[in-house]
Structure formats: C-alpha cells, structure tokens
C-alpha cells in the first residue's frame, strides 16, 4: 500500500498548518508543506499528492478581507494546476481561513468558472471568537470527509465565519456539516451557531463531494485532553475531530 500524500499550502500568515499536518499524520498520511511560490515552480508536481489542504490562519493578515489576497493569488498562479488536480479526483480541504479562500476563489461551492457565489463574513457578534461547537453531519451529503460522522465537538476561532449567500444559492449547497446542539438539533441559536451562519451551515462540499470547506478546526481535537471537559470525564471518543482526516485518508486508500 503506497502512502497517502498530503500537501498543505503555506501563505504568509497561515498558522494551523502544523497541527493540521499532525492530524493527517495521526490518520496515517505523509504530509508536506509548501508555499505558493514553491507550488508555482515547474519542479513542483501536484500529481505527487492526493490531498491538497488550505489550513487556517490569517493569510496576508486578511488585509483586504478574509482569504481575499490568497484567493486572488491562487486564481492568478495556480488555477491551471488546481483544476486538473480536482478533475483527477484529488481531495481538497479548506479549514477556516482556507475555507474562506476556497469560497472567495469560487472553488467552493464551485465550479470555479462560476466565480464566487457564497461568502463568509463577520460573525453576528461582530468579533473574533474562540469556542467549542457541536457539528452534526448531513447524512445526505456527498462529502467524503464527513461520511459516517454523527456529532463531533471541535473549536472555532474566527471573526468571519458566517456563511451568507442569496437564497437560490443557499438552496443549491451541499451542506456537509451543521452547527447543532449537543443532541444534534439545528436551530439551537447562539452560541451553538457561533457566528449566525445561514441555516446553521458550518461546512459545505462541491458537487463531487471531494472539495470540502469548514470554519471549525477538527485538527484541534485529535486526542482526549484537547476536549474542554476531559477533566469531567466527558471526552467521548466519538466527539473527536480526527475522523475528518481519517475519512479523507481512508477514501484515498480505497481508490
């Protein structure tokens, strides 16, 4: 069995690449980090990798809006590489700032030719917040990352995570993960839905189910002592975020 290889994009201000790599490694993958300039070099081969990851952080300080500058740079420098990567069946994961980037570049919900159709904007609270949220998977979703998941518990850490789109675009979305209460119920309100995201949407996938973006950070809950209530013996293994990474690695392995 050959190793599943994951490439994580580093941009100036990316800051969750190491723990995201650790989560993939825990799932048995081999990981590699690269800057956009390194990826744009002729010597870099996207065909060496099966999973492309846009980790969390503040690419370019979110200076012109979250993910804006990186999205523009992607479109300018890597579009000709990313489209074939997706068409070949590669998996793409965007977490937090990476999700914002995918959305602004039009990669999610896609297709890229349509341009940007949804956005992630300021939380209803008007501020950056870090808190733990329950995420419940949509069993109808084609998303390969969320198959078999019921409810997981992971942190968010963002100021611009509210998913907004015109009603007809919202209708069309393949929602992979919802913000819910601990029982998996939607419409639980703040702080269960921490940012006011429409329809409690936490993560979406494209029409192939191969491209997945979400605001929360499953990579920050991959062992029991990450759980904020592990000292109360409340850290159930089924709540771990690791399953997202495991699903991705398993899917590639089973190809």
């Amino acid at each position: 069995m050959s190793a599943v290889k994951v490439i994580l994009l580093r941009a100036p201000g990316t800051n969750r690449e190491e723990e995201t790599a650790a989560a993939f490694e825990q799932a048995g993958a081999v990981t590699q980090l690269a800057t956009i300039n390194q990826m744009a070099r002729a010597s870099f081969r996207f065909t060496d990798y099966q999973i492309l990851v846009f980790p969390g952080g503040f690419a370019y300080g979110d200076d012109l809006g979250a993910g804006m500058v990186l999205a523009s740079e992607l479109s300018l420098k890597l579009k000709s590489e990313i489209i074939p990567f997706i068409e070949r069946g590669g998996l793409v994961l965007g977490i937090c700032n990476g999700f914002q980037t995918l959305v602004k570049a039009g990669i999610l919900p896609g297709p890229m030719s349509k341009g940007q159709t949804v956005t992630l904007t300021n939380n209803n609270s008007g501020r950056f917040e870090c808190r733990w949220v329950y995420l419940t998977a949509n069993p109808m979703s084609k998303c390969v990352f969320t198959q078999g998941i019921e409810t997981i518990y992971v942190p968010i850490a963002h100021g611009e995570g509210k998913l907004v789109a015109p009603p007809d675009e919202i209708e069309k979305l393949d929602v992979a993960l919802y913000y819910t209460d601990e029982h998996g119920q939607r419409q639980a309100g703040y702080p269960y839905n921490p940012n006011g995201s429409l329809n409690d949407i936490a993560g979406i996938t494209d029409e192939s189910g191969h491209i997945f973006g979400l605001m929360p950070h499953p990579e920050d809950h991959i062992i029991a002592t990450h759980h904020p209530r592990w000292t109360r013996n409340e850290a159930a293994p089924s709540s771990l975020g690791s399953v997202i990474y495991q699903n991705a690695v398993n899917w590639v392995r089973n190809l």
Partner: protein, 952 residues
C-alpha cells in the same frame, strides 16, 4: 493621479463595525437617540490606471460581491443636517499594513503603475446630532490624533517625506556651560554623573561626541537597557545593598542553582530545561506608555516585542503561548475625572485588548493566561504586560557567539521614524495641526511581517546558518548591535539599512524602534543560503555590516564614520548610582465593621467587582487552540465558562510532559506593605500551579516591577522591600527567578498635580510537569463529594476586595508563612497526582466565599458549608472574615467520600478540614458561626452577577 475605490456593504447587510460604534456612543454618555452608523473602506491608489484596470482591482481584490458594493468616485464632503460623513485616514508616515499587502497583490496582478496606496475609513452617521456631539464622537471614538486625522475629500497628492542631506553632527559637550549641559542631559536622558563620565572620556580623546555617539550612550545607559536603578547601590535603613538585583533575586537563583536552569538573567528570556531534548524560555515585558497613547498599536507592538525576545533567545525559540496582564482605570470612570488629553479607561481597555488579540492571533500563538486589574490610579498610566513562552531544541538554549568576520544581517520590517519622537510627541498638547507634523513616530504593528520572519528564522536555525541572534527592541539597532558586538566589535553601514521612506538621518536609522526586526550574526559562507530562505518566506533580509575583533562600535554612513566608540566604555563606563531608600508603613486606622447576619448582597457585589468578575469577554477573543497543545484552558467547567486557576499545555505532541502557566498580582496589598504584596503574589502564582495538579518540583518565576517613580526614598524603600520578599520567597519555596524586567516611571503630571500608579509587581510562573493527564480543573464534579478547605484563615482583610467594597484599605494585609505553605503545597500536589482530588481552586481575590461560589457555578452544582468548621486563628472567627479574608496559601478541594481516608493520610500534618458537601440542588448555602445561613443563593444568581459586568 489618485484614484478612489470606496467599498461599502450592500443595503440590508449587518454592519458590526457601525453597530459597535453606536454602542460606544451610548458609553460616551450621549443621550440615547436614533443614530445609525455605516462604515465603508476607502482605498486611494496613486499612479496611472485605465478605468478597466481600476474596475478589475476593485472586483478582484477589494470587493466581496455577495455582500459589498463599490464605487470609484472621488470622495466629497456631502453632509446634511441628518447625515454626516467623517473620513479618517492615517497620518503621514503611519503605515497601515493593508497598504503593503495591497501593493503586493497589485504586483501579483501585474499592475506596476501604482506608486503608493493609502487607506481610509468613512463613517456615515445618520441621525440628528449637534456639532458638539459629532466632535465628541469623532474625538473619542473615530480618531486617535497620534496616528489619524479627518479628511473631507480624496487627497490631491500623498505627502512626501523630505529628503535627507548628510551632515555630520557633533554635540559640543566639551565647551558646554551648566545650562547647556543640563539640556544635553535631558536630550539624551543622561544624569549628571553619567554626563561627567562621558566628558572625561571625550576629553581623553580630544574631541566632541557625534550625535550618534550620544544617542548610543543614552540608549545603552538607559533604565530600559541596563536597569540602573536595580543595579544601584542602596542605602536602606542603615544597610548598604550593592546592586539590588544581584544581591536579592539573582542571588536566590544562584544559591538554589537547580540543574534545570539553563540560561538565566543573561539572554533575552530565561531558559529552563523541558526534557532531555527540549528547553523552554519565558519572558514578560511591559509596553505601558505606547499603550496609553495609542492603545491598539501600543499593545500590539508590545506583543510583537516580547515574541521577538523569545525568537531571539538562545539560537532562537518558537513561541508557543502568550500571556497578558492589564491594569486599567475603572471602565465606569466618570468623564469629569479624566484629565484632558487622556483616553478613557474603557477605550484604552478595548483598544489594548484588540491589539493584543489581533497580533497574537495573527501570529498563530495562543494567548492563554492573564489577568486584568482595575484601579483609578491606572487611569493615566495603564499597564500592559505581555509575556511569551517559547520552545527550542535544548542544544540551542545558550546564547550564540559570533566570530570576527561574521556578517550583521537585519531581517524583517523596514526602518522608519517609529518610536523616535514618540514620547515627546505624546506629551505635547495635541491639536488638529499636530497631525500635519512631519512623518510621525507611532507604528501599527504588522503581525504578518513578524510571522514571516519567525517562519524563516526557525528554518535558518535548524540549518544552523547563523551563529547568534537577538531582537531589535527598545533603542533599535543601537542597543541590539551594541549588545551583540560587546565582545568582538562591529562595523555597520547605516546607508545599507532598508528604509520605509526617504529622509531619515543616520542617527534616526540607528535609534529607530521600527518593529518586526531581528538581528543575526551569519558566517560569510552561509549568507547566501540564509538570504534565500527569507526570500522564500517573502521577508526582507539585508547584510548591514560585519563583526570585527577591535572591540569598537564603528558606524558608517556613505563611507563617513559617524560613530566610533570603544565597547569597553560603552558597556563599562556607566557610573553606578547611589540611592537612599527608606520605608515607613502608612498610618491608617483598622476599620471598625458592624457584623451582619446576612452576606448575600456582599458576596454578589464582590463577584461583580471589576477585579473579580468574569473576563470571558476578553478570553474568548483570543485564539486559545491554535498549535493544538491545550490541556487545561483558561475557561473550564460544565459550560466552559468557569475561571480556571492556571493553564496547562502539552507542547511536544508525542510526550505527556506539560507546562503550567500562572501569575500572581496583588496591587492593593502594596498600599499596606510591598513586602507582603510581593510575597502574596508569589504565593498566589504557586497556588494556581498546585491547584491544577502541578508541583513545586520545577517552577521558574519572573518578576515585572512597575513603579510610579523612584525619586523618593519611600518609593525606593518599597522597591527594596518587594525585592527582598522575592528573594525570601524564592529561597523558601525553592522556586528560582529566571528573568525579570522593570518599568519605573509611570506617573502623570497635570495641573501641577502628580498622579502615580500603585506599586505593581507581576509574578509570572512556569512549571514543568511530567504528565498532563494528572491535572484537574476547579469546577465541582459530583454531588455527594466532600469539600475541604486547606490552610489556615487569619484576620487579614487589609487590601481585600471586601474592604475595597466597603471603601477601606485596612492595615492587615495577608502574610505568607512559606515553610507551612510549602509543606501543604507538596502534600496537596502529591494527593492530586495520586488521583485523590476531583477539583481544586485557590483562594485569592474575594476570599473563600468567592472561590467557593466559582467552583459551584462552574460545576453547575450546589453546596452546603459550615463556616464554624473552617480552621482559623481566634481573631478570624467572624463570619465576614471567614468569608472574605484573603489569607494566602489556602485551597478548596473536592474529594470523593471513598478517598477521604487516603486523602487525609497524604495531607497529614497540615491544617485542613471538611467543611461541607456538594449537592445536586442549585443553591450555595453557607451557615455562619451561629449555625444560621449567612449566604443562601442560587448558583444561577451567583454566576449572573459574576458574568454581567464585562458582558460587553
């Protein structure tokens, strides 16, 4: 020409920035009326563009088409009675990081015809407001004249920095009369003795100093760089203390000399061993004055500065956690009590908080531990303590050593006038004209620049490409280069330093405090590879000189020598100060309290006190999870909102070893006796570590002294006493200090009246523990479990929250019996490690009553307690003393009945007692000494009072 793109929200989209300002308008005391504010972002591009190019820039870079609209019209003032436009932009020389990013993004797009960009915010205020009200809103909420000003339309041209024409400047020291000497002393912050030593030096070489030489001496001999007060010779109550620092705090460390102290009081941060392979370092800095003037930028650059200290420790550490402690005036301070020109505490608080959060979050460093104190005496001098913990391979824990011939490489941000005239500028009367002053001195930090430098440094470090590293902080290049080259000598070519804009003189380049810069010594063979690493990271790195073997500091500007100083004089020439210190306890009466038979209201009011109430509003705006190392978070309990005692992280992912981070600060006790204030702060920090299951095995301490001034004997005496307590407690607990810092000038003069901060000592503590899975949190876990109090209670209400609530200070502040306390801590730690304790909380601000309430509402469980079971000295046998005394070295612990015997066996020999039981009811009931309830409150009410003050 200058093009405008204005980006605004589409109609109907919520505008959190505008709503935030509307809320703040109400805070200003402007009577509530129908006002709405919308905010748009303006980008000005200077150059030449086709209209298609301008549209493309707007669409591809600036506008989110789902929620935003834009237009490209030049701004014009179009105010009406019910609609006002206020456009705010940055002053010349203040660089918004967005401008740099925009320039880079334009270049990615292939657009090269833009020379410069500027940003502005436009506030559209709808509603009937008087001109006075508008002016107040503008002045208090929208503009900080230190960095911003209002414009009415798109500028016709961006201001240009004047060019600089080289002329070597000498300071006529040798022929100066007394008045002139006094002026020179003020210009370079040198005292009489120091000036005299400098005159002797220059007489011996027969010339006057250059301005760059005087600047270098002034910076190198400053309090900030050499801590001359702490190194002075003190006459204290008949005793001579030669070098206060060495003979107290450092002496304790030297005597304790644990093998795990790897590099202490030497480098930019103190370094201790983590395990066989790794070392950790810790540094806490203050950034007080800049934060008072420009809270957001001041605090942000404070974080940036201390992170660089850690990056510049040993051969470079990776920052893994930040801490922050703030001291502010009360958020509800009456505006009438605010001296003119000062920002209101609430605005300082909000600005500082967001500066610390934005910078730390962007750097990807979790901000985990902290505290906020409020006291009216901090109104004009807020304190901002920023701390960073770093980790590095143990073999890289020692300061490097460069060889003559190694290159001096400057990495990171470009150099501007930042910090040069900051303080004098700030103290001037500010008018609208001041904003037109030449390129100013306050910088907005750019966290992404620092992140790029950090990422590159760690790569270069792991490839062993540099021989030494330090940060550029206070004093800029002058202190960084001067210190690094002390043992060798150095030549620096100031004209090679990359500048933000033209017009800087050689001495401005030399002393600029521009942020996000690090200095490296690089063997010539490695220079190319090192520079390439930074190119890959998008960070600038430049060779600006080389180390020599002549032990001289030589500076060139375009081949002219502008500074030539022997290292021996620069670092050894400063005369030691002699100071007279004395300390006398203030005479105050002990208040007479009429006892009550019910303390419900008192407890609720103390829970709502600014110093006690929940700080969740701050904590949640920090990224607590980034780097994936958290074990015990700052907020704990069934709803994840209870006040944890200390945080625990597990920095190496394949090891169970952990770090516990804690702090102690007890300003009010210092009003009674600074000795016991310092002792209490150390005890508090250690209690927090023990509470979460840490031990005293390997605890390192840091001190940060902030004093109003050190001119009066009494203030110096207070400093001596606090320092002596640090020595005594450090020895008694076996916990060495590894680093420290002081800021001794925090006073403000207004109308001839001086206001000074209270004596403030922050103790930060870092403990290494072998197994994070043994740690516990403070929230009650299960009904039926027993509640213990550990440690004796004394009649020590002095400086307590209870007295503060009654308007008193008192005379009996809490003392520390370190021998007894140490024994208790050792045994409690052992009990926790053995799994005998389910929850534990240290008793601090607000006393037993507050600690118990916090455990109950954090766990969502009730409790029944009898005060008569609390072990206490006889004078303390009074309900209010038992409830609210802040006696040190006490804990509340939860133990399962099945483990009672085992727990008590481990604790044998200490003072402790079972005082009650946890129950599933939602009420906290405390019976007084007479057996009747003195407190009976629902945990919901308790929590509500604790949470509501800072639910902003």
């Amino acid at each position: 020409m200058i093009y405008t793109v204005e980006v605004c929200l589409k109609a109907g989209q919520p505008d959190p920035r505008g709503e935030g300002i509307v809320r703040s308008i109400h805070d200003l005391g402007i009577p509530k009326k129908e006002v709405s504010i919308s905010v748009s972002d303006c980008y000005w591009l200077d150059g030449s563009l086709t209209s298609q190019e301008l549209e493309r820039i707007a669409r591809e870079l600036l506008v989110d088409p789902i929620i935003q609209d834009y237009n490209c019209h030049a701004l014009q003032s179009d105010n009406t009675a019910a609609s006002h436009n206020i456009t705010v932009t940055y002053n010349p020389g203040v660089i918004d990081p967005v401008e740099e990013t925009l320039m880079q993004a334009l270049s990615n797009m292939g657009i090269s015809t833009i020379r410069a960009t500027k940003t502005a915010q436009r506030y559209r205020i709808e509603g009937t407001l008087t001109q006075d009200e508008l002016d107040l809103i503008t002045a208090r909420l929208l503009v900080n004249p230190i960095i911003q000003h209002v414009v009415s339309e798109t500028p016709s041209a961006f201001p240009q920095s004047p060019s600089y024409i080289y002329k070597l400047k000498h300071i006529d020291l040798l022929n100066a009369d007394e008045t002139q000497l006094a002026q020179i002393g003020r210009d370079y912050a040198l005292n009489k003795d120091e000036l005299a030593a400098i005159i002797v030096h220059y007489k011996s070489i027969g010339r006057n100093p250059t301005d760059a030489e005087m600047e270098t001496l002034g910076q190198t001999w400053s309090e900030h760089c050499v801590h001359k007060t702490f190194k002075a010779r003190f006459n204290f109550e008949g005793q001579v203390i030669d070098n206060l620092l060495k003979s107290t705090v450092m002496r304790a460390t030297k005597e304790l000399a644990p093998p795990w102290c790897l590099s202490v009081f030497r480098d930019n941060a103190g370094v201790i061993a983590f395990d066989d392979d790794w070392a950790v370092c810790f540094k806490v800095e203050t950034h007080n004055h800049p934060s008072a003037i420009e809270p957001y930028g001041g605090a942000a650059t404070g974080v940036g500065g201390v992170v660089r200290d850690v990056m510049g420790t040993g051969l470079g550490a990776k920052p893994i956690a930040n801490t922050d402690v703030f001291c502010f005036g009360p958020p509800d301070l009456d505006f009438n009590r605010l001296p003119p020109g000062m920002l209101h505490p609430r605005r300082i608080f909000k600005g500082v908080r967001s500066g610390v959060a934005d910078y730390g979050n962007r750097l990807g460093i979790p901000t985990l531990n902290g505290a906020v104190l409020f006291d009216e005496r901090y109104t004009t001098n807020p304190l901002v303590f920023c701390g960073t913990i770093g980790i590095m391979p143990r073999e890289m824990s020692q300061m490097g050593r460069q060889q003559p011939g190694d290159k001096v490489v400057l990495v990171g941000g470009r150099t501007g006038r930042d910090g040069i005239h900051g303080v004098t500028f700030a103290s001037e009367q500010l008018t609208h004209d001041s904003t037109e002053l030449s390129f100013t001195s306050v910088q907005i930090g750019n966290a992404i620049t620092e992140k790029k430098v950090l990422d590159g440094l760690l790569k270069a470090r792991d490839k062993k490409l540099f021989s030494r590293i330090t940060d550029c902080g206070g004093g800029g290049l002058s202190s960084a280069v001067g210190e690094m080259a002390q043992e060798t000598g150095v030549k620096v070519y100031l004209d090679m330093v990359p500048l933000k804009y033209t017009g800087l003189s050689y001495s401005e380049i030399w002393i600029s405090e521009s942020q996000e810069r690090m200095l490296l010594a690089v063997p010539p063979a490695n220079v190319e590879e090192l520079l390439n690493i930074f190119v890959d990271e998008g960070a600038e790195a430049t060779v600006i000189g080389e180390f020599t073997s002549d032990r001289r500091l030589t500076l060139y500007y375009n081949d002219n020598i502008v500074c030539d100083l022997p290292m021996e004089f620069l670092h050894g020439g400063i005369p030691q100060m002699t100071l007279t210190a004395a300390w006398q306890k203030a005479s105050r009466p002990e208040p007479e309290i009429v006892p009550s038979n019910n303390y419900n209201d008192t407890l609720l009011r103390i829970l709502s006190a600014w110093n006690v109430c929940s700080k969740e509003w701050i904590i949640r705006q920090y990224d607590l999870e980034v780097q994936g190392a958290s074990v015990l978070k700052p907020l704990v309990g069934t709803k994840e909102d209870g006040p944890g005692d200390a945080v625990v992280i597990r920095p190496i992912s394949n090891s169970q070893r952990g770090l516990v981070i804690a702090n102690g600060i007890n300003t009010r006790y210092g009003d009674i006796d600074p000795y016991w204030m310092a002792a209490s702060s150390i005890d508090e920090a250690l209690r927090q570590i023990i509470s979460v299951g840490g031990s005293l095995e390997q605890v390192a301490l840091l001190d940060n002294f902030c004093w109003g001034n050190v001119k009066e004997a009494q203030d110096l005496g207070a400093l001596v006493r606090a320092t002596q307590a640090c020595q005594d407690m450090s020895m008694a607990y076996g916990t060495p200090f590894i680093s420290g810092k002081d800021s001794l000038n925090n006073e403000f003069e207004h109308d001839g009246k001086r206001s000074s901060i209270p004596y403030t000592l922050l103790i930060s503590a870092l403990a290494v523990i072998p197994d994070v899975s043994k740690t516990i949190s403070m929230d009650f876990k299960r009904d039926g479990n027993l509640i213990y109090i550990l440690g004796n209670t004394y009649d020590e209400l002095g400086g307590s929250e209870y007295y503060a609530h009654l308007g008193y200070i008192g005379t009996k502040s809490p003392k520390v019996n370190a021998a007894t306390a140490r024994n208790l801590m050792l045994n409690l730690s052992q009990a926790t490690t053995q799994g005998l304790v389910r929850s534990c909380h240290d008793i601090s601000d607000g006393g037993f009553g507050v600690a118990l309430a916090e455990m109950a509402f954090a766990g969502g469980l009730g409790a029944q307690i009898s005060l008569d079971r609390i072990p206490a000295e006889s004078a303390a046998k009074r309900d209010d003393i038992l409830l609210f005394s802040e006696s040190n070295s006490r804990f509340i612990a939860e133990v399962e009945p099945a483990k009672q015997q085992e727990f008590e066996d481990v604790l044998h020999g200490n003072v402790f007692a079972v005082i009650g039981e946890i129950n599933a009811a939602d009420t906290l009931e405390i019976k007084g000494l007479n057996g009747e309830p003195v407190i009976s409150l629902s945990i919901k009410t308790l929590k509500e009072y604790w949470q509501k003050p800072l639910r902003w």
